[in-house]
Structures are given as structure tokens and as C-alpha cells.
Symmetry: C2
Subunit: 481 residues, 2 copies
């Protein structure tokens, strides 16, 4: 058996290693080996990771003791999947409340934490990530390897257009760019006026690669055009995204590729799972490959957390194979995806998420009995000529029926064509939504540029049903007095 490159526990990477520039793969063996062989190595690694966590972390030890699971039991993937209990983000938050600041799943001495990041914590207590220098290095190596798969090469300029703060997306992309030997340009995002300046710098520096969220890339393109610049002239060849679905949604992807004349790559699992590019596309393969030798991914039934067969939908459950500070072992993402195991055009022998991650299990809303994912509406709109790039989904219930209203922006060009063109646009949108969702939605065309653009994750769903319900109940109560 040929050795897998840099395959050790704890992970140890050679900081000077780089593949030949014309190599398609960073680690040819690890990326293209027969799946069964890789899985044998993963089983052994899972046992090692579990032993490590059992020894270092009261959090895992207690949870596993209670569940009757012991690392020695891991003799197959099925053993691991059936015996090791899943964990959820809420478990991590509670562990940090009990054992501040990093929780009792921190497997290194507190003093060895190298970087602190965290969740944005818009609801409830935020969660702190404590990442060791060794892990930062492992993350950098994994990301460089995956970015190599996009086609990015040493010396390329990588422009990071996402906020540099708690959010790990931009930091992970930065670490990968640094490790590969790129010119890393950590521009960031989020402060007033930054998008205009980003456009000027993109124009001045002509980077080969851009990282951000899909919504923000479209906003950057729009801002460029407003300032009289053509985003295609920036010469960006690789646009890679995380933070929200979209880069795998054909309509969105096509709009970005059309604007920048570069190739779009979807990537990103969860901040907790960093190296989050563990699911990512490659130059020859669209959607997202599951880089199983970095993070072991199971796509699971969202209730029972059993792995679903290839071809089916489910929620990804992730296990770190190369992290030692806060290793995640069977962390439920709550995302929604579908996976396949067909051969990949790039030759990598990984399972694939052909449509990326296209929703949240808890984002899904049910309207008149139909399950609807916001990303499906986004995809439908992006296929309509004249769509201006922003919309809102308003769910309301005024009587007994849920009402779905979609407010859509046209392009400025379409708006100028006048009322007849807008009416036709509205009809097309209505028809497409009906075809895709199997239900009728009200469509309202708002003014071009009506909605504020986001420099982060777009939030487009407004569920007014609770409000209506509360109001109706209040009115009913008042009337009965």
C-alpha cells in the first residue's frame, strides 16, 4: 500500500511542501485513492481522534459514557456512526456556560490557544472558538490544498472581501492563501464605504482570486458598475464563496460568472468545523466534494442521524480528523444537502454534494402543506431575465390561509423599458415560482435597487405569521372583553 501523504495523528505537515505547478492535485494519493482504502484509514483515524477526545475532554467522556460508547468500539464506519452520539451547537454553548470561556471540549491547555474567534451571537450567548497554533497550521494546509484544487497557484493575489472579525470564513481563506504562498490581500468588509474602496483596489491590483459571500460579490459587481467600472476588467479568475448558499445555485452562480467572467467555487461547511472548506468544488467538478480525509462527513437523516444512502437528502454531520484543540465529533450542522457518489470529473474519489448546501433544515418553511426552501426561490428568480438581484419573501397569514408574497427587484434597464415590460416580468416570475414550488405566490415588483445590499449573509425571509397570529389573538381577546 502506498503511503498517504502527511497522514499522521496528531497531524504534521511539512511547511515547505508544494506540488509541481502543473499537478492537478496537492496530495495525489490522498485525493484519488480507492474509496475503500481511504475509508480503512479513516476508521483508524476516527478511533485515534475519539481516544484523544475521550482522554482530554470531560465533555466527550461524559457524553459517551452515558451513551455507552467507547472509542475502542470503532472498528468500522458503521460502528462509529451507530454508536457515537451526535452533538449539536447548543451542547457547545452550554459547555461554555458551564466551563468558560472555551468549554470542557477544549482538549489543550488554555494557554496554548493561539487565536480566538467566535459566533456572531445575535441570539443568545456567543460561542468562542479557541484554536491552537498547530490547528491553525492544519487549517492552513487543508485550505491551501483545496484552493489548489480550484486552480489557485502560488504568487496569485487572493482578495478577501469578507469581514475579518469573529467570522472564521475570511480567516480560513487567509490562512490557506498564506500557506500556499499567494499574495494575500485581507481587505475585509463591513465598514461604511468599504465596498467602493474594494472596487477601487480590485481595479488597481487585478487579483487572480476573490473570496466572499455570493450576495456580496453581486453587490461588489453592482457597485463597480455604478462607478463606471466593468467587474470583468478586474481579471478575477477564481471566485470562491462560503457563508451562505448561492454559489451552487445555477442562477446565482451564472450571474456572478457573467459579471466577473471568472469561475465560481462553492465551499464551506460550518465555522465550528474549520477547515470549513472540507466541502468545496474543484476546477473540474461543480457542487462540493466531501474531502473525507480532512473532515469525515456523513449526510444523515435529520431526525435519527443515520447516514442516508447516496442520492438522498439529509443534513451533514461532521467529524474532524485533523484538529486537536476543539475537535468536533459528529457535530450536526442542521444544513440541508443531497449527496452522490458518482465518479467526479476531477478524478478525486470523494462523495459529492452536487447542488451544494441549499438550505437549513430550520429555514425550511411549510406553506399550505408544501416544504419550501428560500434557496429554491432564489434559484428560480435568478433564472428570470431582468431580475435585479434582490428580493424578499414575506409569509403571512391574514385569514386561515398562509400567504406567500415575493417582492422582486427588476434591473434598472428593465425598469426603464416601462410598465409593459415590468408586467411581463411579473408574469414570468409568477409562472416560474408556481412551476418550481407547486404553489401560487403573490409577486410584487418593487423599484430597482429598492432593498439594501448586504456585505454579509443575505436575510430575505420575513415570516409574518406569528405576528399576525398574535395580533389576531389580541384583537379577539379585546373583542371578547
Amino acid at each position: 500500500m502506498v503511503e498517504m501523504e502527511s497522514w499522521s495523528w496528531p497531524p504534521r505537515y511539512d511547511a515547505s511542501y508544494k506540488p509541481p505547478p502543473d499537478s492537478r492535485y496537492w496530495f495525489p494519493r490522498r485525493e484519488t485513492m480507492p474509496q475503500a482504502e481511504r475509508e480503512r484509514a479513516i476508521v483508524q483515524r476516527l478511533r485515534e481522534v475519539c481516544h484523544y477526545a475521550y482522554e482530554k475532554s470531560p465533555f466527550y467522556r461524559q457524553k459517551w459514557d452515558q451513551a455507552g460508547f467507547h472509542p475502542d468500539q470503532v472498528k468500522s464506519l458503521e460502528d462509529f456512526e451507530q454508536k457515537c452520539p451526535v452533538i449539536a451547537k447548543a451542547d457547545l454553548r452550554m459547555a461554555q456556560e458551564r466551563h468558560p470561556p472555551f468549554g470542557d471540549y477544549l482538549c489543550i491547555p488554555d494557554s496554548e490557544v493561539f487565536h480566538i474567534h467566535g459566533t456572531s451571537g445575535t441570539t443568545g450567548r456567543p460561542t468562542a472558538f479557541g484554536i491552537s497554533a498547530a490547528d491553525w497550521n492544519n487549517i492552513a494546509n487543508a485550505h491551501a490544498r483545496i484552493m489548489w484544487g480550484f486552480g489557485i497557484r502560488p504568487g496569485d493575489t487572493v482578495f478577501l472581501a469578507a469581514i475579518l472579525s469573529l467570522y472564521l470564513g475570511s480567516w480560513g481563506a487567509l490562512a490557506g492563501a498564506e500557506r500556499m504562498g499567494c499574495k494575500a490581500f485581507p481587505f475585509g468588509a463591513g465598514a461604511p464605504g468599504m465596498t467602493s474602496r474594494a472596487v477601487q483596489w480590485l481595479n488597481q491590483m487585478k487579483p487572480e482570486a476573490l473570496y466572499g459571500t455570493p450576495s456580496y460579490a453581486l453587490f461588489v459587481a453592482e457597485t463597480a458598475r455604478k462607478e463606471g467600472l466593468n467587474p470583468a476588467d478586474f481579471g478575477i479568475k477564481y471566485l470562491f464563496f462560503s457563508g451562505e448558499p448561492g454559489a451552487s445555485v445555477p442562477g446565482v452562480r451564472d450571474r456572478i460568472e457573467e459579471a466577473f467572467k471568472g469561475k465560481v467555487f462553492d465551499c464551506g461547511s460550518m465555522a465550528e468545523v474549520t477547515p470549513f472548506m472540507n466541502v468545496a468544488g474543484s476546477a473540474q467538478t461543480s457542487g462540493m466534494l466531501c474531502w473525507q480525509d480532512i473532515v469525515y462527513t456523513e449526510v444523515c437523516d435529520p431526525k435519527k442521524f443515520d447516514r442516508v444512502p447516496y442520492g438522498e437528502r439529509g443534513t451533514p454531520v461532521y467529524t474532524h480528523l485533523e484538529r486537536t484543540s476543539q475537535p468536533m465529533i459528529r457535530l450536526v450542522s442542521g444544513d440541508l444537502t443531497q449527496w452522490t457518489n458518482d465518479p467526479n470529473p476531477c478524478g478525486r474519489t470523494y462523495p459529492r454534494l452536487p447542488n451544494g448546501i441549499f438550505g437549513r433544515i430550520d429555514d425550511m418553511f411549510t406553506i399550505r402543506g408544501e416544504n419550501v426552501y428560500p434557496s429554491e426561490i432564489d434559484a428560480a428568480l435568478n433564472k428570470v431575465a431582468g431580475y435585479g438581484g434582490e428580493h424578499r419573501i414575506v409569509i403571512s397569514r391574514s385569514g386561515i390561509m398562509d400567504e406567500l408574497m415575493i417582492r422582486v427587484e427588476p434591473t434598472p434597464a428593465l425598469e426603464k423599458e416601462g410598465a409593459a415590460a415590468l408586467t411581463k416580468f411579473k408574469e414570468t416570475v409568477t409562472k416560474n415560482i408556481h412551476t418550481m414550488l407547486g404553489l401560487r405566490a403573490g409577486v410584487e415588483v418593487v423599484a430597482a435597487g429598492f432593498y439594501p445590499r448586504t456585505d454579509f449573509k443575505a436575510r430575505r425571509v420575513i415570516d409574518d405569521r406569528d405576528v399576525f397570529r398574535e395580533m389576531n389573538q389580541k384583537l379577539a381577546a379585546e373583542r371578547s372583553q
Copy 2:
């Protein structure tokens, strides 16, 4: 002669080196050696740096050839200072216009650039910094060494409260914290809502050290109090600042130390000169030491650029001794300072800027024949009890006399005391300004919290004189028609 630690060209630092935790110095020899000995080493290094730049950079070669300077001529500090011409920021900007993107003072192949940062470029073309991995490492080592001098130690949490983007301040502090083995928390700043969240994280993580600008630290303290938290409870022991004057201004420093109950350190020369902590205070020494073996600093006459004697005022002129990508050689800062060479309480044998950097040569304004620096007004106000922390300086000319008006915020507490207290406050301010500046200024007390707080560099001077002049000319012209 004892060897100076890690003293080589090009610089080579041992990544694993750390002094014993109880050592006052990172490099005892380099920091405390007799000045004359260090200067002999610096002369040799200056010759090496100049030879390197002459060979690698058309920018320097052409400039020096024209000026009749050759690196071989550097046999003493005086040779260097008298024969090597100064450069200005405008020279760098023009060099980048002619040779985009990094200018012909980039001394490494473009592909070896590791990080790109830049000036914010609010006026004119921004300047790009292209920094090699070797230089990033040198910067990190220099900053770790200087932060050690503050008292920061491995394992301490360092909270970075300044935007992570083009601005090198936060990145330099981050690199130093990473190199020292601190827990680096690159929180950033600048996006809406971030200050509130910063306060929550400071409260949750209790960092040992905080980095930012002095104005922003005061804003963070104010925000904390508004949210019912006492900034002293964050337990911050070291607060270090760059980006604007203030941390050496007794009034400002005292207000920050009073709010956080930690010790304030002033540091920071220029982004171009990074490792910008080359001028910085230490645990035992206030003001700023000139760490001459990292960046050679001359305080010069602002017109002739001759070094001024110790004790006098002038503008710092900086020369990199440990940078190889875009080395700055005799870069004029345009800042204003005063230097001394008295023994330092910390035992380091460096010259010192006892009052830090207290203005810009070009910020200085002349009013009725008197030279006034905004930082002097800031200092005067900060000494007055009841000062609310913000003010504006308005210079106008309605007739033939320049008028100076200072609009000052009281504290909310003083405001509540009522009209008599405010009148007394106004009188004290008027008297203090008169005493310090030797001229009368109008003082207007505005409402507490009237001016927006900044999360970056405060801009407080409004010069209305040109506006008035233009308007008067226009009116005169209209009348004569």
C-alpha cells in the same frame, strides 16, 4: 564584545526563542548595550541596507545617483544622515503610479509578496504595501519583543479593537501577539454594532491586553457604561495604542487608565515603517523609546532634515534596519515630536520621545501669529474636570482677524448640575486654553454626547478660513458688478 542577539542581515529570527518569563528584556544585550556600541553596529547595518536597496531598487538607485550618494560612503551616522537624501510619501505614491502595483522600491520579486495592505487613500491614489513572508516574520518578532517590554506575556489574551483591513496597526499587533504565543483575539472594529459586541466579548473573555486607538478605547468605555458594565471589570492590564496621538497626552492617558484601571502604552510611527512599534513605551518608561536597532530614527529639522540635538522638537525620519521587501530609507514622517537622551527608568539605552508624537507638521495651524497644535488643545481640555471627551476646533476669519472657537462637550453628570456649573466649566476651559496657547479662544459648551464618537482616528479641526475668504470675495465681486 558580546554578540547582539539575532543581529544579522538579512534578519533571521529563531521562531522558538522566548526569554525567561521574569526577564524584563526580550533581548537583554540589544536593549541595554552602550549606545555608542549599538551605533557602530547600526552604521554597518545602514551600509548593508543601502547596498541592498541600491542593488535591488531602481527607485533608490536613481534617486541616490542623482544626489551623488553611494552606500560605500556610509562610514558614520553623520555620513548617512548628511549624504543620503530623504524620501517622502509622495515619492512612494508616484513610484507606484509609474511602476504599479508596488513601485520600483519593491526589492523582492512580485511573486514573493505575502500580504498586501495599503493606505486608506481618502485623498488621491492609495499606496499599496507589499510585504514578504520574511518581513512579516521580522515584524512579528520586533513587535513581540516590544510588547514584552509592556509586560505582556505568552498565554495572555490580546484583544484587537481596530479594523482589520488595509490598516496595518491591527495586523502588526496581531503578528506580535501570535509570535509571542499570546491568545490573539482579532476582533476588529468599524462595522455597525461592533462596539456593543466588543464590550460583550471583553466582558466574557477578560483579556489581559487591548489594542486600538485612544479615541476608540474611550468610546468602548462609554459604550460599556451605557450597557451597565464597568470597563474596569474587564480586567485589562495593558492598553496599547497607535494610529493617532493621545496615549502620551496626560489627560487622555489618565482618562483611559481611570476607566479601565490598566496601564496605557503609546506606540506607533507610520504604516510604511511597520514594525511601527519601533517607537513605543515600556512598563517602566513612559512616552516612546526609539528602538534604534529595529528602525533607525532621527528627529530632524522639518525643512532641512538635519538631525536636531536631543531636547529639541522636530519630525522623525525613519530607516528600516530589518525589512527587505519595501525598505524605507530616510522616510520623512511629517509628524511632530521632541526627543531626549536621558537615562530611561527601564534601563534600555534608547533615545526617547517623552511626550510621544504630538502632532503633524502640517496639522499645525497659525492663528494670529501663534503656532497651535490640536494635540495641545486636546491635552488642555483633558485636564479640566467635567470635560465630556469630545470637542471641535473651528478656525474662521470673518473680518481681518482669525477666530478660534472651541466647542466642548461636558460630561452628562456636569450637564445635570445645571447652568451655573456649565458656566464655571466654560470659564475654566477659556482660562486654561488662554494660559496654554497664549491667545484667547471662544468657547462654546455643547450638549453632552453631542459629537459622534469615532472608531478610528478622530478628526477635530475644522478650518473655515478659506470658505470665509471665498465667500467674502464672491460677495465683494457681486457688489462691484
